[in-house]
């Protein structure tokens, strides 16, 4: 079966792209070959005035290249040849003896847009699914089918850079404004608007009018492009600290192709693509992309189990987490009922809810009218009333078993039969909390991370008796709210905190032994974590962190023993950013090392950065391997997603276990053994690592 079919009527040709056995159109290597044959055949057609590129797929024009093919490219020369060949094929569109129009009604991404860029004209629709852009840098590569050059010539260097570096996806109207397309029409009008568009192109005078709307180079772009590049570079460095080579290559390519002929420029683009394509960063980003795609479709239960509809949600607890969760659900237009301990505490949480909305407003993603409507979805009460029709409750009260159990008892007397009860506990066992409940099958853990608007992860924790339908419902709800949901086992600290706490603890020990707080934070940030362990501890609150650490110490014993010096710090009433004093002191935007803390450091000694990273990462890898061994999470790729989404573990490293793989498990094992000798049993490699090292295995197979 062919992906392309040609239909000619009244000298108007339509080349319909309909990739067999796929819901989307992709420019795979074999599709490109077919396209080339079609184009070669078309170049001698005298009976055609104009040809339309159309897609037969609902909501998709062309979704881009086949990413798994990019993933499999490991050799620089081959990579170059693949894209170079792609450039040549797409450029054949340009030399066809008739006009060509890309009819973009749906997603038009990456290679798809690069194809459209080779057409003479582009018409888009206002269909909300119509998204146009070159998001290749998200996968650690750059547009390699001529996209960098053709877009630059179409819309100018500055706009092209913004679009490519930001991996921005643009809707039809915006695309027209940026001159990426010549026309944008409502989807329902497409047929007859297209007819008049064709007529206009075939009429010299009308066509000239369309051509006159195209971008014209301005003075800045003509005479001082270096300013544009300098500014772009500054932005990229600010955002990525230079950890991601693709955006840097893009800017470099723009610079180098400033004054050379198109053909040479395209060749440079292909080489740049090839360099990036074989890099570890790109492979890691692609691996994350696929992991996240797989996650989106993983329901964690049998396919037959259908999630319940959730429209009315109640949140119990008007603290920081409660406020964040209320905000999140009101934002996705759920009716939310906030039950707080008093109306004053409820009013207090409205402060943060309204601040979160202000943040979204500032980013221009929402209008004031919509905000008013969404805040209107929130009702509030200081008693358990108005719960009859609640579909799901999220409990977010203090981390205390008795308090939580009291809440569940109250809830069970007011909610309906089908209502799901979820706890936002960060450390208490779900099975334990479920003890004494009348219907434990409806009880589940739904662990959001702080701050809720910014942290994309939700850990879903099933207790022994939690039903599959409860799991499916909570997973779907989290995803509907735009979060990444991962099912994890019911152990102390669940997955992310359990792993993360080991490294914070280890950092505190290093401090006790004489390492400087600043050096540790700096080193870890250079490694790629968004925040060093001491800054993070201050942010979360030392009191909260200490409480969780204690729970973990109780559960896991010796290896999670809270560093004694942390207790000293807690006793000094330092609780972090909340009271402006933790490992750092805070005044306004200023942040300085807290001298009270350094005063209790018994000695100081020089530490090397590799030493710090070794201790911080090895202790986490060991704990992660244990979690995997205990089936706390399905596989290494889900664990890595959890770490990336829950802690900001650097995506360019592909995740914690991917990082371990990149070191080699044998080396991990040797490191752990060495650390164990020096610092004690907490570094003792777990069984999984011992076995993997012995059998020369990796966390990621194949």
């Amino acid at each position: 079966m062919s992906a392309f079919s040609l239909h000619v009527e009244n000298k108007i040709a339509t080349l319909l792209f309909d990739m067999p056995n796929s819901s989307v159109n992709l420019l795979s290597i074999s599709v490109m070959r077919e396209l080339e044959a079609k184009l070669d055949e078309l170049k001698n057609r005298k009976d055609i005035d104009i040809m339309l590129f159309k897609s037969a797929k609902e909501g998709v024009f062309i979704a881009g290249a086949d990413i798994s093919e990019i993933e499999s490219l490991t050799d620089e020369q081959t990579s170059h040849d693949v894209v170079r060949n792609g450039q040549i094929i797409l450029s054949k569109i340009r030399v066809l003896p008739f006009y060509t129009v890309a009819v973009i009604n749906g997603a038009c991404l990456g290679g798809g847009f690069e194809l459209a860029l080779n057409c003479d004209y582009r018409i888009a629709t206002q269909n909300p699914k119509t998204k146009i852009g070159l998001p290749e840098v998200n996968l650690g590569v750059l547009p390699g089918f001529g996209g960098t050059q053709n877009l630059k010539h179409l819309i100018g260097k500055q706009k092209a850079l913004e679009l490519i570096l930001g991996a921005k996806l643009i809707n039809g109207l915006k695309a027209q404004k940026l001159k990426m397309v010549d026309s944008c029409v409502p989807e329902g009008y497409l047929e007859f608007k297209l007819e008049s568009f064709i007529k206009a192109i075939l009429d010299d005078k009308e066509r000239a009018k369309i051509d006159a709307t195209r971008y014209k180079m301005n003075l800045l772009e003509r005479f001082a492009p270096s300013l544009i590049y300098k500014f772009a570079l500054k932005e990229v460095m600010k955002k990525t600290k230079g950890r991601y080579p693709a955006p840097l290559e893009v800017i470099e390519l723009f610079k180098k192709t400033e004054k050379i002929p198109l053909n040479e420029a395209l060749s440079l683009e292909a080489y740049a693509f090839a360099r990036l394509c074989v890099s570890n960063v790109s492979k890691n980003l692609i691996s994350i992309f696929f992991a996240s795609e797989r996650l989106k479709h993983d329901t964690f239960v049998e396919k037959e189990v259908l999630p319940l509809d959730v429209h009315d949600i109640s949140v119990i607890g008007s603290g920081v987490m409660g406020g964040g969760i209320v905000w999140l659900f009101s934002k996705i237009d759920k009716a939310v009922r906030l039950k707080g301990r008093s109306y004053d505490s409820i009013a207090e949480s409205f402060k943060s809810i309204s601040k979160f909305y202000d943040d979204v407003l500032k980013r221009g993603r929402i209008t004031k009218r919509e905000v008013e409507l969404k805040i209107g979805h929130i009702s509030y009460t200081d008693k358990y009333n108005g719960f009859n029709n609640i579909d799901l409750v999220v409990e977010a009260v203090v981390e205390n078993i008795e308090t939580k159990k009291d809440v569940y008892k109250d809830l069970e007397s007011v909610v309906n039969e089908k209502c799901i009860i979820a706890s936002n506990t960060s450390s208490l066992s779900i099975s334990m909390l479920a003890e004494g409940m009348k219907k434990p099958e409806r009880f589940i853990g739904m662990h959001f991370f702080n701050p809720v608007p910014r942290m994309p992860l939700v850990e879903v924790i099933a207790g022994e008796k939690t039903s599959n339908q409860t799991i499916a419902t909570v997973v779907k709800l989290a995803r509907d709210a735009g979060k990444t949901a991962i099912l994890v086992g019911d152990c102390a600290g669940f997955l992310v905190n359990r792993i993360l706490i080991t490294y914070i603890n280890e950092s505190v020990r290093m401090f006790r032994e004489g390492a400087s707080i600043l050096l540790i934070d700096e080193t870890i940030e250079e490694f790629g974590m968004p925040m060093g362990p001491f800054s993070l501890a201050d942010e979360v609150g030392l009191d909260v962190g200490y409480k969780v650490s204690k729970v973990l110490e109780e559960a896991y014993g010796e290896r999670m023993k809270v560093a004694p010096i942390l207790e000293e710090v807690i006793n000094m009433k330092l609780i972090g950013k909340k009271n402006k004093k933790g490992f750092y002191t805070y005044s306004g935007k200023e942040k300085e090392i807290n001298k009270e803390v350094t005063a209790i450091q018994p000695r100081s000694r020089a530490y090397s950065k590799p030493e710090i990273i070794d201790r911080a990462m090895m202790i986490m890898i060991n704990e992660a391997a244990r979690a995997l061994e205990e089936n706390i999470v399905k596989d290494a790729s889900q664990l890595d997603m959890a770490m990336i989404m829950g802690t900001g573990f650097p995506p360019f490293r592909g995740g914690l276990l991917k990082y371990a793989d990149s070191l080699g498990i044998e080396k991990v094992y040797i490191s752990l053994v060495g650390l164990e000798e020096k610092y004690g049993k907490r570094f003792e490699p777990c069984e999984l690592i011992v076995n993997m090292a012995a059998n020369n295995e990796a966390f990621y197979k194949g």
Partner: protein
């Protein structure tokens, strides 16, 4: 009425002084908050309601059918219809009686009725002269046209019409409500001191009731400033330790020279919303609900606009005739306090045989109003009178107070700008 109609439950927002705490919440937002809360607490699913009916006087230009806006904001689905009713100060009762009629005629089973008013948000209007110019400017094409149009302008056109004042003025008699209160004071010879003492009592009763938490039983607190985390839980018009001296010091507001009606012995201008859930008695039984109480009968009557304050006498005469009841049958009376003189005038009219004969077409007096059961927790003078909302508040408050007192039958009545009266007989079991 052929049958009673059950009122399942009702709630209101606190009443805020106009241009005060609730000034940034438009009437539709106030209404949506309370409607949502009543529906949730009553526990009947949104989709089971047949319709939403809301009373509102100062119908905002950005939400002209404010009931529909309130319904959708509150969480009703698109398919629930909604409309707004207007009977001036009785709009919040009209919504209830309209719903009752629809229930009894079988047009629907379950209704949400209420009233919402933001007197803070009544607009300032352009004068007719000014709006004529603006309109002409929009139509003028050439520059000369425009200059010609502009030349018609005189500075007096800039003085805005205060929508609130215009709304409180009867266009036929040309009298602002306060002036109709002055007429009643004259008709019945009610002194300034009598009015001030009545006002004082209203504040004292309301102060006691607020301190005892009586109003809290009908109020759902409302967040009025999310940014700064501010919430309002109590009515803020009640003056604690109000004194006769303070009231006496105030100057007459409407008739500066000879008048007796002051801001202190008139109802306050305020913002608030209230809502109730209604259904037939049999439907309530079928659903296993215990209603807060019942609407037994209602009546509206008209009289001359200049003496609109006596509306309760007319509508009560009508309802007593309809039900063959006597004033002494009522164990509790809520007679809205628009003005102290207006309540006092009604008291005089109710017990006057002569007034009954000359005005009400009755041989005998309506019957004296027992002050021990009249407005037992104060009224509009202390609490405020958000015009479109008050009617609903009176119904809720009468029923809850009957329950507190273990009594069964109450009368809620109010006077209506433009010359009407409304009377509702309410019962609890």
């Amino acid at each position: 009425m052929s049958q009673r109609v059950a009122i399942i439950d009702g709630l209101r927002t606190p009443i805020a002084k106009a241009s005060g705490k609730l000034k940034d919440l438009r009437a539709d937002l106030l209404g949506a908050h309370i409607v949502k809360e009543v529906v949730l607490r009553t526990g009947i699913d949104f989709d089971m309601y047949d319709e939403v009916i809301i009373g509102n006087v100062g119908q905002p230009s950005d939400a002209v059918n404010i009931a529909r806006v309130i319904a959708l904001r509150a969480g009703f689905s698109d398919k629930t219809s909604a409309y707004t009713v207007h009977r001036n100060c009785a709009s919040g009762m009209e919504s209830i009686t309209t719903a009752a009629s629809k229930i009894l005629s079988g047009h629907g089973e379950i209704y949400l009725a209420g009233g919402a008013e933001s007197m803070s948000n009544l607009p300032l209007l352009f004068t007719k002269g000014m709006s004529d110019i603006i309109e002409a400017m929009l139509r003028s094409k050439s520059l000369i046209d425009k200059i010609k149009t502009l030349s018609r302008f005189t500075p007096s056109y800039l003085k805005p019409i205060v929508g609130l004042m215009q709304g409180l003025t009867d266009p036929l008699s040309g009298l602002i409500m306060g002036s109709t209160a002055e007429i009643l004071a004259q008709d019945f010879g009610i002194s300034r001191a009598e009015q001030d003492y009545f006002a004082l009592a209203s504040h004292q009763k309301a102060e006691r009731a607020q301190k005892e938490g009586i109003f809290a039983q009908e109020i759902a607190p409302i967040v009025y400033d999310a940014k700064n985390g501010l919430i309002m839980s109590d009515d803020d018009g009640i003056r604690y330790a109000q004194s006769i001296e303070a009231l006496t010091r105030l100057k007459p507001f409407f008739d500066k020279r000879n008048g007796t009606v002051t801001a202190g012995n008139s109802a306050q201008i305020s913002d608030a919303a209230a809502a109730v859930v209604l259904m037939s008695e049999s439907k309530a039984k079928e659903m296993g609900l215990t209603p807060l109480g019942y609407l037994r009968e209602y009546a509206y009557a008209g009289l001359e606009p200049a003496r609109m304050g006596l509306g309760p006498a007319y509508s009560t005469a009508k309802i007593l005739e309809m039900t063959k009841m006597k004033m002494s049958d009522f164990e509790l009376i809520e007679l809205n306090e628009a003005f102290a003189s207006q309540v006092l005038a009604n008291m005089a009219a109710f017990e006057s045989k002569k007034y009954a004969q000359t005005h009400l077409g009755r041989d005998e007096a309506l019957g004296a109003i027992d002050t021990n059961i009249l407005n037992v927790n104060g009224g509009g003078i202390a609490l405020g009178h958000p015009v479109g909302m008050t009617g609903t508040r009176l119904v809720i408050h009468t029923l809850k107070e009957l329950r507190r007192r273990n009594k069964n039958v109450g009368l809620a009545t109010l006077c209506i700008g433009g010359g009407q009266g409304a009377s509702l007989i309410l019962e609890v079991e």
